[in-house]
């Protein structure tokens, strides 16, 4: 079975600082990987998804970027954080299509 690992669990960063959130997958090969953000009153918003190494699709233009340097590694980054980047970030993976397995999430607060 597939397990999604995310870290850190919480992060407080100043405005203008860089960001790097890492997600790794265990138990499967060549999964589809996703980054979601849960912001207050906005549900789960799809940010990026990847069907393979180096393949990234962006759903929402914003201050963030994603990379997939290895099959089981998905990274969410920003060069300069904005206050509006605060939220709960979730990494998810899927194999074929049986729905997603989510990581435990990262609570990001930009101050």
């Amino acid at each position: 079975s597939q397990t999604i690992h995310q870290w850190p669990a919480t992060l407080v960063q100043p405005v203008g600082s860089p960001l790097s959130l890492e997600c790794t997958v265990e138990g499967t090969s060549n999964p589809n990987l996703y980054w979601y953000r849960q912001a207050a009153g906005r549900g789960l918003q799809l940010l990026f998804y990847s069907v393979g190494i180096g393949q990234i699709s962006s759903e929402v233009p914003q201050n963030l970027s994603a990379s997939r340097p290895q099959d089981r590694q998905f990274i969410l980054s920003s060069k300069k954080l904005l206050l509006s980047d605060s939220g709960f970030y979730l990494c998810a993976g899927s194999m074929g299509f049986d729905g997603y397995t989510f990581g435990s999430g990262t609570r990001l607060t930009v101050v």
Partner: protein
């Protein structure tokens, strides 16, 4: 544009009674629907799903009903238990595409 809508942000139900969570969608290409349950500071966990070839799927206390003509689905929890208190997300997808989530409904089951 929100393609999956959960119009009730919160719901309170007494223990032992039925909880009914509703979800509407606008995209007629959606053919796979899922419900996820989320506790605070954790990633969502898969609860139950239904494909568009069915109108009902049952798993223990949880039943999902799909009305394709109305583009509406609902999750029934019977009997409701205090441990069911969580945020419930409805999600929908066109075949093997990325999941689109609603904003969630916060369910509170009171003793």
């Amino acid at each position: 544009d929100q393609q999956v809508k959960q119009n009730s942000p919160s719901l309170s139900v007494q223990e032992g009674r039925i909880s009914i969570l509703n979800c509407d969608y606008t995209n007629s290409m959606f053919d796979y629907f899922l419900w996820y349950k989320k506790y605070p500071a954790e990633g969502p966990t898969f609860l139950i799903s239904i494909s568009s070839i069915k109108d009902k799927n049952e798993d223990g206390r949880f039943t999902v009903f799909l009305n394709k003509s109305a583009k509406h689905l609902s999750l029934h929890i019977v009997p409701s238990q205090p441990g069911d208190s969580a945020v419930y997300f409805c999600a929908a997808s066109p075949s093997r595409g990325a999941l689109n989530f609603g904003k969630g409904t916060s369910l509170l089951v009171t003793p």
